[in-house]
């Protein structure tokens, strides 16, 4: 076996390195690597590459055939004991540093990164990657985004972590013990799991999932809620304040079982990020011990940190946004608002029910908190109190707010941010219900959302209000829209707002402001049997 393209064995034997060469100010490295195979062309190219590096006086990288050993001897190197199946590495350099560079250059020349291998053609026969792991072996990615059904998400997410990248897990219905295992693995590797059930992130200037187009800036968000994050992104943008990153952590991260692992990891990452000057953590109130851990981390951060733990009796998202803006030194603006345009008189407050039809759970929550404080019980499929739960048919006679993005309503159908049909149906129902005085809707723009929500919604609003104006049934229907979007979003926020206002809606950029306005339009009823009275004594 004397071809120089042969090999065998295992391991490397270093013969000598860093050896000063007498009579000259040089150092030498001679090494025999058995178990290393490279074809002769690769070896010639490697030799040439190493020999061309600064500070390298001579290099021979070749199989140990008699011919090559003769050449080696002729170059004056110390002779190793090598056979034709061994790879001989001989490098002569001006000093140790140059020698190290030479050997690093050799490793680079000999390694064959699969990232440069094309998938198609003769190098891989056009077989697309079938797992996240396979895709990551072919390409140097910065992130993986997993949206397979929840019971299959674990293996793909673990592939990402083992492949050395952080992962956004959009999938929901991932069992909690799998979430914990993923987050523990991520922590071990210094990576981040955004999710499960994370629909929103902005990383490296890129919107992932449902995210708004925002400018780069000093605020870093850590969000356990997608639409909560989106509302903040949009309000910050309205004030001209940009975002360094928005890291989603998934809806369950701050539970006792998960312990806020991703939240803490994300906070630390933003703390270490030079571009982030203010960190805002957004979530519903977490389990106590988790809240304590988050507060402790916040206190230890070098970067100023705002904890926005939403809920009853706590600041709303608009207040949080204002605080954040002020902290960066920017001016808190008048939040954009688009009253109904044209010759339509503004609706007057009158008695009747307030019905909220939401696509974002956090936005629905925020509106309910604001409404319940003034109006008493608000029925819902995500009720603030268990006894305020809506029946399965989602019908009631009093105030109600429905989260159409909730699991039961999205089983087997697209999310309401993509497909408006369910909400439009309900809008028509509310229009036909004489007891309904105000309909409150959120419209969430940005990447991933419906490309032109106003195209469907404006005609529906116009038709609903028109029907009421004609008296079937009687009583004006006021429509209030909380429009969550930025002027850079693909849907073009201002055009959406104008179309909705032209249809008769009163549009607000601030969800809290929209909710307050809607509440103001509904006068609490007198004792008429209106369910709003039922627990008048228990309003907060």
């Amino acid at each position: 076996m004397t071809t120089d393209d042969a090999l065998t064995g295992a391991g490397a034997r270093e013969v000598s390195t860093g050896v000063p060469v007498t009579g000259a100010d040089l150092v030498e490295h001679v090494e025999v690597r058995s178990g290393a195979y490279h074809d002769s062309v690769t070896l010639m190219q490697a030799s040439r590459a190493v020999a061309g590096l600064a500070g390298i006086e001579g290099a021979l990288i070749a199989m140990g055939t008699e011919l090559n050993l003769d050449i080696l001897r002729g170059m004056g190197f110390a002779m190793p004991s090598a056979g034709p199946n061994d790879l001989v590495v001989a490098v002569r350099a001006v000093d140790g540093a140059a020698l190290t560079r030479g050997l690093d250059g050799l490793d680079a020349a000999l390694s064959r990164p699969t990232a440069t291998r094309s998938v198609g053609g003769a190098s891989g026969a056009d077989v697309p990657p079938r797992t996240t792991g396979s895709a990551l072996r072919r390409t140097s990615a910065s992130l993986a985004l997993v949206s397979v059904p929840g019971r299959f998400a674990f293996a793909e997410a673990m592939d990402a972590l083992e492949g050395g990248v952080s992962v956004l897990v959009f999938s929901d219905n991932v069992p909690v013990e799998q979430e914990v295992r993923l987050k523990q693995e991520a922590a071990r590797r210094g990576l981040l799991v955004m999710g499960p059930d994370c629909g929103t992130a902005v990383v490296g200037g890129v919107g992932l999932g449902f995210a708004n187009a925002v400018r780069p800036g000093p605020v870093g968000l850590v969000a356990a809620s997608g639409t909560g994050a989106q509302q903040l992104l949009c309000l910050l943008d309205a004030a001209g304040v940009g975002v360094s990153a928005c890291l989603g952590v998934g809806g369950r991260d701050l539970s006792a079982a998960v312990g806020g692992r991703s939240t803490l990891q994300a906070m630390a990452a933003l703390d270490a990020d030079p571009a982030t000057e203010l960190v805002v953590v957004v979530s519903k109130p977490p389990a106590k011990e988790v809240a304590d851990a988050v507060a402790e981390r916040a206190a230890a951060m070098r970067t100023p940190t705002l904890l926005a733990l939403l809920g009853r009796g706590r600041p709303d998202l608009t207040t949080v946004a204002a605080r954040a803006i002020a902290t960066t030194g920017a001016a808190v603006p008048q939040w954009p608002e688009w009253p109904p345009s044209g010759r339509q008189p503004s609706p007057c407050p009158r008695s009747g029910a307030l019905r909220g039809l939401f696509s974002g759970g956090t936005l629905c929550d925020e509106a309910m908190v604001i409404a319940a404080a003034e109006l008493g019980p608000v029925a819902s499929n995500i009720p603030l109190e268990p006894e305020w739960a809506l029946p399965d048919d989602l019908r009631t006679t009093g105030h109600a707010m429905i989260d159409f993005g909730e699991d039961r309503l999205t089983a087997g159908r697209p999310h309401p941010m993509i497909d408006p049909s369910l909400r439009l149906e309900r809008l028509a129902v509310e229009a036909g219900d004489p007891g309904t005085a105000v309909v409150l809707l959120d419209v969430v723009l940005g990447h991933g959302s419906h490309p032109d929500p106003a195209a469907d919604l404006a005609p529906a609003i116009r038709a609903a209000r028109e029907a009421r104006r004609r008296g079937s049934p009687p009583g004006e229907l006021a429509v209030v829209v909380s429009l969550c979007g930025t002027s850079s979003d693909p849907q073009r926020r201002d055009r959406q707002a104008e179309a909705l206002a032209a249809a008769g809606a009163h549009v607000f950029a601030s969800n809290a402001a929209a909710a307050r306005h809607a509440v103001g339009l509904v006068r609490p009823a007198s004792a008429t049997g209106n369910p709003a009275d039922r627990s008048a004594g228990s309003t907060s």
């Binding site: 076996m1 071809t3 393209d5 042969a6 065998t8 064995g9 295992a10 195979y37 690769t42 699969t114 003769a122 190098s123 891989g124 026969a125 056009d126 077989v127 990657p129 797992t131 996240t132 792991g133 396979s134 895709a135 072919r138 390409t139 990615a141 910065s142 992130l143 993986a144 985004l145 997993v146 949206s147 397979v148 059904p149 019971r151 299959f152 674990f154 293996a155 793909e156 990402a160 990248v165 952080s166 999938s171 295992r181 693995e185 590797r189 210094g190 990576l191 981040l192 490296g204 890129v206 919107g207 999932g209 360094s244 803490l264 990891q265 630390a268 990452a269 933003l270 990020d273 571009a275």
Partner: protein, 475 residues
Amino acid sequence: MTAGAPSLGLLTADPHVVTVGAGLFAEALAAQAVPVTPVEWRPPPPGTEEDLVRVVADPRRPEANRTAMERMLAAGAELVDVRPASEALGLEAGTFFHAGPPVTWERASGPLRGALMGAAVFEGLAESPAAAETLLAAGDGIVLDSCHHHRAVGPMAGVISASMWVFELRDPGSDARAYCSLNEGLGKVLRYGAYGQDVIDRLRWMSAVLGPLLRSAVLAHGPIDVKAIVAQMLQMGDEGHNRNRAGTLMLLREVLPSLIDCDAAAKDVAEVVRFVAGNDHFFLNLAMPACKLATDAARDVPGSTVVVAMARNGTDFGIQVSGTGDRWFTGPALVPEGLYLGDYGPEDANPDIGDSAITETAGIGGFAMAAAPAIVRFVGGEVPDALAATGSMYEITLAEHPVFQVPILDFRGTPTGIDVTRVVRTGILPSINTGMAGRVPGTGQVGAGLVTPPEQVFPAALAALAEASPPVGPG
């Protein structure tokens, strides 16, 4: 818990996203001019999700697989001796080793029964094939066992009996051994279930002349590096399972001087040379034990999901996995799909048989089909099929072989180390490049084609791995 550099890398790296799942995410990213690599994902078979999670979550798995693969890839293979099986394997009269997972006479298919009958006559345990059949069916004093249980492998029926001579291979790094019978040639031979007098006579000559002469040559020459021959033959159009021509010639080149030089009658030397040179598959019986040395080295690493054996007995197809010890996971052997010789057709073919799938298990054979375009037509395909066959195997394996490389793929290493979890996740089954035996004993080869293990063996192995894994927790 501190954020290491990678989390920071997340924030500052140039975005390039791998997406798996709903296409709209890849579209939304493309709309932002972000490079996207979408995964062509399919769900695994129903009922495997929980086992998959448990095995993927096993904290031992990455390191265990790394260890198993290091050992598999580093194992060497030298031919060091040729000896009677009675010495080398301790085979006693009445005991027969066979290919594939353990099987009984009752369940054995035609070619295996025929081979056992022929071997019984060869050993002098029965006067005739009919008497042998009666003896084997009765079972008194007869022991059947898998070659694999004795560090051996055998092609097709793979029957090894006491008087047969076997190659002895050694891994110089660990001193481990593997054995294989000597290849009889093509046509009506024992391994295809033939048991006629010509078969017996040939076996006798192989034990009396071929074995001893090869032994003298090997001992005189010194150990022959079989792994190095495999590396070279892959670059000469062989893949090590269905095509071994270059390997056979390189072996012959090695032993010829010592053969000529040893103190044997020139006539015998000539017959040996003629025999080896005339059998393009002779080297198969060296490639196989070389692969067995590699896969055996990867055995018994707790938590490892690497397949260490794929073998068929003509009735069942069995796999063994590093993390589950000696357990076999079996299912019905399938009939290969490919081309038939002469007038033969699918009804003539026996289900898949032989230990030769050890070649695919070690990263050659069907996995190296891209190196052997000449064979692809023989199995009914075209050249792009050969490239695609190797290409898809990368999806289910853990490593690219540092030594076995495919020139047309830019010298990329062959896909090596089948991972049970990846097979289940992708639904891609290992592709085996094989000859087809005739169902009727003694027919010989009826064709060649591609075959896979029966699907169910991988979920079965996965379930066993899951049982042996810790419950899913923070770890």
